[in-house]
Symmetry: C2
Subunit: 567 residues, 2 copies
């Protein structure tokens, strides 16, 4: 490609709303153009990258024997009513009416549509397993679209849905998809991790997220330093710590006027948060109150808490008025002594002895509190987010926490949709059986943002070779003035094209500084510079985007040099 | 591809709403699956065809140096308000509100969005001409979606938009696009015609439609039998026929009680419709009435009529009450004698002498009417649809009319959008100039339906080779019982795969009759059948989808035989 036939649409300044580096660089490099909040056009250079990502995904999905199809953006409400999601899904589901006042939505996902197709075209266990995928435009009406294409409203996803006669077959395809995703992200050249994720109703290891590691990532992911264990923060388990030490202190009241927070208690009583507990009150399934107890320095894990028996799911904090009425004190003063509601205590809190907690009345705390002696009916549970240094739940090593950007998610759905939508096949025994389903997503457009979050410097993007807009840029100096430079550059360009190198020659009438800056901003991995001086001694200058040093190489060996670099 | 790894989703019956053959066959062959009125999913075999169409379009568009980008489905109302189309576009524009109650539409076309992009990224005449295209999902809320993907609500289009410093440059790119479209439809293997189309405000030869010829086509297209002239029915011109013969009859009143229609007048007076005229009354731009006069057997061309000076555009028939009040009679009785409003008379009607028309009062007609003598102030114009046998407007040959399906449209927009949206660049003289624009559309999904309308028989689809779902199908008889057949079929299959033939081997446990019927329904151009009998004598059976005869060929020469056929 010649720059003069292309649109190099770099801009100097990123807009104010671009808070993260990938958003800033995608705008500055001219990959995307904002149309409206959360809506972006992909300019030629951005679309070129998307096509490279899509090609890799398509090749690996096809290799796994998944079948590509294409479902509509617009979906009728009726299907979503069958699955109950018309009511359950929040305002992120963009609903609209057509000219005949019929209800539709713009699909944020396609479980209903694919289940409806499976219901029509799959009749017998002999057709199973089967895995359908599409690469398609989705819409999610984010309340606050941000971070460019990282959290946009319209985006491209690869979503796949597999159908199975039983859970065993689902598990097998799930493993194939896990491997396929690894192959895809390997080929994309990303530093990523598959991590265990919350698996909803199915349980077990039936859900994994794939995260691109980047310090700026929205998500916390937890690794063991002694094993391959990895999970997202919602999922990473903590282990029971055994019985607490025997009590050393008597239970006493400490007067703590106006003190509501853990920090204030610690300051006043000169203790560390690790010697305190905090008691949160949530709604139970029978509109009753339930206490969740954590060590003072720990954070509640809402996903874990919502799965506890008798706790309302999704988790809902109790109303303060109701707490005041039933327990006689406000949120900041609740403690576990004489607390007559179900009490779930996190393993770390359950391991404490001689600790401090609220006294169930304002302006007082208990000190020297001990489980068993002072608070009897408790259930020790895994309630909190892991923290660095926690033992790995597989028993090997300690937890480390890194940041990541979620770019893929694989999930065993079981029969959730086939039950509600009555999608069955005839089994080997002649009886109808509702199909098991898996679903597997990759955020195509998000991958580009994530790869930029992971690979950039102060000069711009550093694209992995597989998804760089071009593999090589040729920058001729004085292309429009020196016929010798033009001739050599054109010859080199044609030689590269002949070798199927994805090459851009910058034949614009721009100053060298602008051409260099653009090539670095765009993240093109390899650069060759040709000038009259080089021509004089048969040389050409090579620079890799990732290394600061320039190298002079023989002009005649330039193509093989680049082929070698690309391999 | 093996059938066992694929989804052959043929069905026996087409649904009742499938009125045209392409709709019936696309459902029966399992190319598409209906989701809701005007919304279709593309099953794997249908999507495979779409991808082939898209590849050809993309290659030819890239060859023309157009740049691919991708714009969103959802578009903000503000842009459409700038171009005034938010008000002008009818209910086919699907409007919706997001969660913040802001107005959006689902794009039926992208002039506004691309003009907005051009405005941001094009600054100088040096960047022009430039041509952007996308292959993208569009939505048009048809009042009565029908004919499957031929007139669906969601569909895939290739739309391109070019930007120019002046009309001359626009004209040059327009010619390039005309040739590119011919290249695309040639490669798709379709029998098509580029025809002149109505060019709106720009005039001249600035709009062409590309029609796939098919008897079932919705559109009438007009050819000369003596030249290359071709135009759609809206556009095809008629020529002036010169002065009428001198009057032979006196003007008389004929009593015609209750007679309102041309047929009734002809029956009563024993004359042919060619000796009558009909007078239509439309609204003028000043809320006045205007008469349009046609020969009794001719049809009004509304596009032509709407362009007449003083006539409201789009054309609007006058209200009968207003006509009654001002002219003193109802629609069926209007005539040209003593009619004191502007009168446009079609060339053919203007050529009549001694004709019959209404008497401007009910129950009477005039006979022996002659222009000049009985009706003076008339303007002879081109007002009607051409009919077969009309002289070709280029003066060579006579008009023939065929049916076609519109699959492409190229159009010179001029500065319509750049004026209203202020999209300018700095010209060579340093002054800002609003860019000229062209737009160029191809209905990607519609092409598939059109190609089926053109190529089918009672056994199913006959796909052109370039867009057939597979180039070759191998049908082994007793694949699952005869190890010899299996071995030979597998070997042949692998040899074809090695030669990059797009081959399907039907390894399902189906009866031969079903496999043959499916291969014909799907329109696969070439078929090889291998059985034990064939194996005995080293032969294999070949059948082309377009010829009824089967041929036995040597097994060892099968691959080169097929390669030969494919070339």
């Amino acid at each position: 490609m010649k720059s003069s036939d292309f649109l190099i649409s770099t801009v100097k300044e990123a807009p104010n709303d671009a808070q993260i580096i990938s958003h800033q660089l995608m705008i500055r490099a001219g990959l995307i153009s904002k149309l409206a909040s959360g809506l972006y056009s992909y300019l030629p250079i951005g679309l070129k990258i998307i096509h490279k990502v899509e090609k890799i995904i398509r090749e690996e999905m096809n290799k796994s024997k998944a079948l590509e199809l294409l479902m509509p953006v617009a979906q009728p409400a009726e299907l979503w009513q069958e699955s109950k999601r018309w009511e359950e899904y929040g305002p992120e589901l963009l609903r609209f009416k057509d000219r005949h006042e019929r209800d539709f939505c713009m699909g944020p996902t396609h479980e209903e549509v694919i289940t409806n197709i499976a219901k029509q075209y799959l009749r017998s266990y002999k057709q199973l397993p089967i895995n359908f995928y599409q690469i398609q435009t989705k819409f999610r009406d984010e309340i606050r679209p941000r971070f460019g294409v990282m959290r946009s409203r319209e985006f491209i996803m690869k979503d796949a849905y597999s159908f199975h006669i039983d859970e065993k077959s689902l598990g097998e395809t799930y493993q194939v998809m896990h491997q396929t995703y690894c192959n895809i992200f390997d080929r994309l050249g990303l530093d990523y991790r598959p991590v265990l994720a919350d698996s909803g109703a199915i349980g077990g290891d039936s859900s994994h997220e794939f995260h691109v590691l980047a310090e700026s990532g929205e998500d916390a992911i937890c690794f063991s330093d002694g094993s391959s264990y990895a999970a997202n923060i919602e999922r990473a388990e903590t282990l029971p710590l055994g019985k607490p030490h025997a009590p050393q202190q008597e239970l006493e009241i400490a007067h703590t006027p106006g003190v509501k927070t853990i920090d204030d208690v610690c300051n006043l009583l000169k203790i560390s948060p690790q010697k305190t507990i905090k008691t949160l009150i949530v709604d139970g399934t029978n509109d009753n109150l339930i206490a969740l107890v954590l060590r003072g320095d720990h954070e509640l894990n809402e996903v874990k808490a919502a799965k506890l028996e008798g706790v309302k799911n999704p988790l809902q904090m109790a109303e303060e008025g109701k707490v005041l009425k039933q327990l006689g004190c406000s949120f900041g003063s609740i403690g576990v002594v004489n607390l007559d509601i179900p009490i779930f205590v996190d393993y770390a809190a359950a391991h404490l002895s001689d600790f401090v907690c609220g006294a169930n009345r304002d302006d007082d705390h208990y000190i020297g509190v001990n489980w068993g002696r002072d608070s009897k009916k408790i259930i020790a549970s895994d309630l909190r987010n892991v923290v660095p240094g926690d033992p790995s739940p597989d028993g090997n090593g300690k937890i480390e926490i890194k940041r990541g950007v979620e770019v893929g998610h694989i999930f065993q759905l079981g029969t959730k949709y086939s039950d509600s939508m009555k999608a069955n096949v005839i089994g080997e025994d002649g009886k109808a059986v509702n199909m098991n389903m898996g679903c597997y997503g990759i955020g195509v457009t998000r991958i580009i943002a994530a790869s930029i979050e992971q690979n950039n410097d102060d000069r711009g993007i550093i694209f992995p070779q597989a998804i760089a807009p071009f593999e090589l840029i040729i920058v001729p100096i004085n292309y429009n003035k020196s016929s010798r430079v033009k001739e050599l550059a054109d010859q080199l360009y044609m030689d590269c094209v002949d070798q199927n190198i994805d090459v851009l020659i910058d034949d614009r009438k721009e100053r060298p500084g602008i051409m260099f800056a653009d090539s670095e901003l765009l993240g093109i991995p390899h650069r060759l510079v040709i000038s009259d001086t080089h021509a004089d001694n048969g040389k050409i200058e090579y620079k890799s985007r990732v290394h600061p040093d320039k190298v002079e190489i023989d002009f005649n060996e330039a193509v093989s040099f680049i082929i070698n670099k690309l391999d």
